[in-house]
Symmetry: C2
């Protein structure tokens, strides 16, 4: 039996995206955003939605660029901090004792201590109401050497990213591996009615 | 030391979104999509990106509506199956032994056995290259009674959603709770330099 709980922005597994940008004076800023996801494969794009009142919003509009740094579990408090203060009146990198690193490919800084970084240029934006929906083209990804697997891709068990859950207003780690995706045996299972 | 791994559609924690739609004959269909996320708070919106070649793409364009059913861990194989077959030549609900339920508020079916369902009307779409980026307004959410907490919201520890990791082409469960979000003590910690 399902109950209606009304319209809410609830998806349960939201990413924790630390969005890096420069302000007009060149001061690096970063904020925590959970409204976003991959938006396209080719060219690779990511979406992230921000309120107009955020300092980052104006920075992205001005510089047409941003980064997304993905924090590891051990930086959960720093990530939370980035979501509570505004860069208008604070140097959040300094307060959080984290290092702003100038991106190689776009006009935005990233968090040096976080293991995975997406460097993005602004491709589109769409006003949706409370938030502006930004689409960034991912022009490069940088990954800490020790988190890269044999295939040259980030290893989720080493990166240890985490999710934001709106219902409990909490951060949850990634758990155990459940199954391979695109598993051919699954096709057979359902085709033959074996399950 | 960070290495460049080039531009890729990688975010590590992608949701598993089972997108429900009706075809022109009224046959219910569902597909697995990992490119998406919350896009707006007010009105609540969700984004999901689909290739034009998918059967679901045309269905959403025709009916201007879709659902997103969020599977529990125990349905990981069914979720994977929904991502491998096309509804053009298969009744995927029947093959997966799952129940298509007509939404109350939008012209699309959802997966009865999955604990959380977002009922969405099509608000915008944007062509990004390989994928069309759909923005749906969430007009209602339905949750299995036994997964609703005291605050009337879905309890992630009962829903047991999971994530898709592109690097390992695998599904990962949600792990342990790391910390509360918006924690006032975090503000104090960083303000005083106690950390």
């Amino acid at each position: 039996m399902k109950n209606s709980i009304g319209p809410k922005p609830l998806l349960l597994t939201n990413p924790v995206l630390i969005v890096g940008s420069y302000d007009p004076s060149g001061k690096p800023n970063a904020m925590n955003a959970a409204w976003g996801g991959i938006a396209n494969s080719n060219p690779p794009c990511v979406s992230v939605s921000l309120r107009k009142a955020t300092y980052t919003h104006g920075n992205i509009m001005n510089r047409k660029a941003f980064t997304i740094s993905i924090p590891s579990e051990k930086y959960v408090k720093e990530a939370d901090y980035f979501g509570m203060k505004s860069g208008k009146d604070t140097d959040k990198f300094e307060s959080a004792r984290l290092t702003p690193v100038r991106s190689e490919k776009v006009d935005a800084p990233y968090v040096g201590e976080f293991p995975v970084v997406l460097e993005c240029t602004l491709l589109h934006y769409l006003e949706l109401g409370s938030h502006t929906h930004f689409i960034g083209e991912i022009v490069d990804i940088k990954v800490d050497e020790e988190c890269i697997n044999e295939a040259g891709l980030p290893d989720i068990t080493k990166v240890l990213p985490f999710c934001f859950d709106l219902s409990s207003r909490s951060y949850y780690g990634i758990g155990k591996k459940l199954d391979k995706a695109f598993d051919p045996s699954v096709l057979q299972t359902f085709a033959t009615g074996a399950r």
